[in-house]
Amino acid sequence: MDFKDSLESDYREILRSYLKESNEIALYRGQKFSRESIKQQISPEEIISLHCRVLQDLFPDIQKEVLSSFDFLLEVMMDYGLAYQEHQSLRDRQLEIKSEIQIAANVQETLLETKIPQVKHLDIGAISVPAKQINGDYHHFVQDEESISIAIADVIGKGIPAALCMSMIKYAMDSLPESRRNPHHVLENLNRVVENNVDPSMFITMFYGVYDTIKHIFTYASAGHEPGFYYNSSTDIFEDIIAKGLVLGVDQDVQYHQYEKQIEAGDMIVLLSDGVTESRTEEGFMERSVITDLIREYRDLPAQEMVEKIYRNYERAQDFQIRDDFTLIILRREV
């Protein structure tokens, strides 16, 4: 005998025991009954009708009006029943969309995959975690013979639209290999691509740098991107990597300044997205100094462990509710 068949007799039995002993055990059994009936997709109006039938059965002398009041209650419960059924259908659709977005996230991951360069005397760590399923931050390494280039970008906006933009950035970058060593050229080119192709309501911030692995000079330019840090190991001081430049996609003809920095042994370059620094906690915004303090705390660890530890710290401080995509890259010159 399955649940639907035994529905009425179960309900009568539990209700009778409740009325007799009026104890918590019967109510607990009532709750279990309810879970089972939800699982069996019994609507709430059916529960009302069931209750009425069982009452009639338990109290043959029940007032006629009380019984007919249930017809009314049933009518009132009808729309609740419909909302409840819509719930089932919305839930199914939601699961479908969720899995679709998950597939998209996987596709994006494959598309944007980047390998951390393995270079003698350089230790590089990188982490990028989406706030929702799909990442609107982008970072990419390219390793050439005497240099590595590092791109980090953030679409204003999150989720799916950002993902579409990011795949554009990736292919635009793939198609400009000749000018790759000149950060300002890279940004000027990408700026035109974004300006031509993207809705005017969308902006992208981007930082692009080239690290000369022979001379240890870091050459960079920025399109309105959150400034990173330069850590001077001899003075133990962090300074902002300041680079002025308009965000991508606003004005076709922007020119970007290009900056240079000599990197010494023990120094670090820290690149990040604003998700790292503009995090809100219960006490207000997180200070940029929170990040530099953490870097200092973990500076003896390998770069990859550093960025991972910092992310764990951050996640906890955010109460596990991440509001923006988080990307952090640390590059240290070892010798």
Partner: protein, 133 residues
């Protein structure tokens, strides 16, 4: 036909008349209380759509018998503006939760069979059936 009845929908009171007719027929056919309420809610919704969007129209309630199975069929007819995008109105709208009532997806859920034809400027016909189990 003796097994067919009509209600013209012109005022809000006619919605009540259609409900009453549907409930009576459902009861006579032997539907249980919950199914009676479902049929009535579906009729109410269809009649209300006519009243609100087409201005006037007609509800037909029929007893049907197909391959020995008995059922109740409701036809809602109007010569109103018609529905341009049927794809959209059959989507799980959010009408229920907004207190706007069942909507056509709700009517479809309440009944067993559902069929709609509509042409813009000419009107809409919706047929629904509930089978007696």
């Amino acid at each position: 036909m003796e097994n067919e009845s009509y209600v013209k929908i012109i005022t809000e009171w006619d919605i009540v008349a259609a409900r009453q007719l549907g409930r009576n027929v459902a009861k006579e056919l032997g539907f249980g209380t919950v199914d009676q309420a479902r049929i009535t809610t579906a009729i109410s919704e269809l009649a209300r759509n006519i009243y609100l969007y087409a201005g006037k129209g007609e509800m037909q309630i029929e007893r049907i018998n197909k391959f020995g199975k008995k059922g109740l069929k409701v036809i809602a007819l109007d010569n109103g503006p018609g529905i341009d995008d049927i794809r959209r109105v059959m989507e799980d709208g959010f009408s229920t939760s907004g207190g706007l009532g069942a909507g056509l997806p709700g009517v479809k859920r309440l009944m067993d069979d559902f069929d709609i034809t509509s042409s813009v400027g000419k009107g809409t016909t919706i047929q629904v059936v509930k089978w007696l189990r």
